[in-house]
Symmetry: none
Subunit: 141 residues, 4 copies
């Protein structure tokens, strides 16, 4: 199972709806297992940084099988991954907003959100990822 375009767009819409509900303007992206973009949307008025950062958060989450929020402590000085974000040509991002999508023990994609605080972006991305878990659960059941 993988994030189809139809499901990916439901995820970016859900993430943006959650942001709108919190009064935030964000960009939302879904990438596939290879970290390549499937769907993207930037809310009217959201900053242009989101056009790359939302994608790169999803890329980071898919490529490292971890929520980017959980990278924050690891990349601090002395941490296990200090200096980590210079890897991958600068595309790895170590603050909240990227959430991997799991299926049957494998990461098959990720959601990335950018525009609010790291913790908010993480929560909005989680709203999108919840749709995935629901769809994946139905397939499992």
């Amino acid at each position: 199972m993988r994030p189809t375009l139809e499901l990916a767009e439901q995820m970016t819409q859900a993430a943006c709806a959650a942001a709108a509900g919190a009064g935030c303007l964000v960009s939302a992206a879904v990438v596939d297992a290879g970290g390549h973009l499937v769907a993207f949307r930037r809310m009217d008025g959201a900053e242009f940084a989101g056009a790359t950062i939302a994608v790169d958060k999803a890329y980071t989450a898919a490529g490292n099988r971890i929520a980017t929020l959980d990278l924050r402590e690891q990349v601090a000085p002395g941490g296990d991954l200090a200096g980590y974000y210079a890897a991958s040509g600068g595309r790895f991002i170590a603050f909240g907003g990227g959430v991997p999508l799991w299926y049957d023990g494998l990461v098959v994609g990720a959601v990335g959100v950018s525009g609010a605080s790291g913790e908010q972006d993480h929560a909005f991305a989680g709203t999108g990822a919840a749709l995935w878990e629901e769809a994946a659960g139905e397939l499992d059941g």
Copy 2:
């Protein structure tokens, strides 16, 4: 006037519908006047190269105020822009699929499509751009 998210998504959908009608699998992107992504969709089964090339075609069209199909001859050896595509950090693309969106004498965004031949991608992007022209024309009228 500018490409809102709502209109941008209609444009990427129209471009993908035109590709589907021709039996092609593509990615479609819309960028704003600054070349930054507004909306993107990649059809199920479309190659992952489209995730960057469709975006970069739109970026090229917006940044140079020209359909990328029209750059093809200019970048040929001996042409006025030979070697052009190495510029801008390698993001400029000189084959068909990027179409600028005009309003009141200014370029306010662009559509980019990637996945089929350059001429097909150009035509699919044009389907999206036609929606813009219609919307922009209504505002003028």
Copy 3:
């Protein structure tokens, strides 16, 4: 409303004049809403790093809708945006000197200054931005 070339040059001149008054040698840049350069000047004797850093500070401020001075704490280890400056191909800068230009709730450009301390650069950029606010206010009034 947007930063025309004429107004952009007044802003870079004002920022450089403020720096000269403080005995500093700086570079000053103004970018548009998409983060693309409109006007730039480097004072005689100012370090060449300013040729990219002033531009990138303005790019950061426009792309993130925030003064780069205000990013400083967020990017500290453990902060919400730790590792932030590796994003966007290394163009994001998280110390003082970039100031966004607002109009009607949107960021329509930014001023960037580099060459002195982060707090000084922020103040010099603010001198430029003040011209914008004055011009924008007259349009509103």
Copy 4:
């Protein structure tokens, strides 16, 4: 002798005035002997590609001691510099618009113009360079 900010701005203004006289919208840049930006201006309505290409043309001309128009044949397939433009991280540009500034047998800077055809950009840059030659000649005389 070197291109001071004052002289550099006269050069970018002269290049833009020449472009305006020909009905073209361009960006114009002057770099120093190290290829680093001294002054830049983008005419209202000129494409955003000029924000990097005008600078990179000047960078190429300064770094290679040659007008970029004269690189065109050398970079053609089979030419002495085939594939040249991939060097320098993609910053070298091999079509018209970059013109070096000479003094006493050394290149001390360059003018770069982007926005019209390669031959036009070369001519507009030459208008700027002529101011340099005049100023340098007076110092020699």
